[in-house]
Assembly symmetry: C2
Homo-oligomer: 333 residues x 2
Amino acid sequence: MSENAKDQLAKGTWLTYRPEIKIMDCTIRDGGLINDHKFEDGFVKAVYKTCVAAGIDAMEFGYKADKKIFAPGQFGDWKFCDEDTLRRIVDDNPTDLKIAVMADAERTNYHSDILPKSESVIDIVRVATYVHQIPTALEMIKDAHDKGYRVTCNLMAVSTIQENELGEALEVLSNSPVCAIFIVDSFGAYYSEQIRALALKFLRAVEGKGIEIGIHAHNNQMLAYANTLEALIFGANRIDATMNGMGRGAGNCPLELLLGFLKNPKFQLRPVLECIQEHFLPLENAGNMEWGYRIPYMITGQMNQHPRSAIKMRAGKNPDDYVAFYDQMIEEE
Amino acid sequence: MSENAKDQLAKGTWLTYRPEIKIMDCTIRDGGLINDHKFEDGFVKAVYKTCVAAGIDAMEFGYKADKKIFAPGQFGDWKFCDEDTLRRIVDDNPTDLKIAVMADAERTNYHSDILPKSESVIDIVRVATYVHQIPTALEMIKDAHDKGYRVTCNLMAVSTIQENELGEALEVLSNSPVCAIFIVDSFGAYYSEQIRALALKFLRAVEGKGIEIGIHAHNNQMLAYANTLEALIFGANRIDATMNGMGRGAGNCPLELLLGFLKNPKFQLRPVLECIQEHFLPLENAGNMEWGYRIPYMITGQMNQHPRSAIKMRAGKNPDDYVAFYDQMIEEE
């Protein structure tokens, strides 16, 4: 019966594992959006060591932001990920962990700030783009690829892209030298069945091209982990997650939950728990950084809106006035 | 292609709604497991009024516990749900909201404590049973049905039941006078694909019997809402949820998330947000009651264990020692 048809479509069950699944820890990069990338070296080093101990495949440290657009004095070092910044933590990175940075379309001086691979400890350049920036993104992808990096593309705010535009975007990206294209649910707006449909659409677009599909979920509707599993089950092999779910607003798919699901014995949960206990709880308790599911983020997620208004509200005078925020959002819609 | 087959199997999409879907608010009943059912009347009344304003179909207040087993001095009134206790809040319940109580197999003196319907403001008796208690549960179901109630059965800890036992349980329950059978993921151990398979199994068992399938999820792996949606999409029409996710341990499927998904205009989100803001945040901030996703509950959920060890750990001297708890659980497994 048709139930079986669905099972055939799914690429594995919770009892199996696919060795081709690779996890990217985005804790420092996405978490940096909470604190303007001002992490202590000790914290970044703890996350790095934990990734290595836990068998994580890659770790994203931050952005390659253009210093002409973003003043270095106003941001922490992880906004720019200079070579010496990275090497303070990873030295020559004598591990199997791949080092990744994000390069935002239109916010990166990629010609000069992305060095030739031979001069860099970076392994992967992740080009992040909104759909209207794709021409720029394509140039950046080519540039980084020609310099010797593995390049992926994070297609942001997919939930705001029209069907035909998305088709065109996938067409050009699947003919670029990326090794993976990520579905980015920037607003945490998607339900699992939409993620499934998207994963299958993305997979069809890259069929036979040797390009993997990835998923980057946000937890506005408490679905980051569930949606990540849905994409994974239907064939996404590149998975973004963060320790303790740290990330802007409602945060991301928690790495510790993901490791509980994946059955590949190379992944270890215990080092992640240790790191959260020793480094994340103190940070959370200090009260300067807030992340994780909360009702204002739910409201923006349900309305398919950028979380910026919810983040602003949480940082303001009435962080618990859910009703006023809801009324305001309804009014503005 | 087979993708379409799956879509045909699903009973509606996120854009449609099925009027036959009914929501049970379990806030006071499941939340009562955190504080020995010692809620102030004002809080219970606020939840009741909110359910009415939000268009919720039914509200569960607590248990019908046997006073010979549970000493009334040690528990709040909602452990027993005497008629005068309920009427303090709902009077004669001049609303469309149905009043429900839970009757645990082997912990309820149902012969005397469940009054004839004509003498009670209760509409629905929810018989909760572990699989080995089903003979007792069947007697309780018959008793409550004969007294004039709508009766449902909550089949607890489904994740610990062997396949053939589950088949037998569904066989006898589907031939009893219940109007709904609930899948209860007591340990928060299930992934969505397991919930889907269970929902379809339960639905097949009751086919043509006029019995609905329900879902009661726990949030140990942050999947309570996702799993609830999965069951709902595949045909479960009876949905348990709680305001702010309040419930034992990791809590339940948050009602406010569920209302964001359901497109039936009879449901209203705003009153729920108002109630959470005015009544739940103060309770949470007072620090006497803890609920919601936390890593120790994740660990018991991942291991398909009762959350009691995690609850005990959170109430103990080292509530944040995740690693010690993990090591202990691994050792005991």
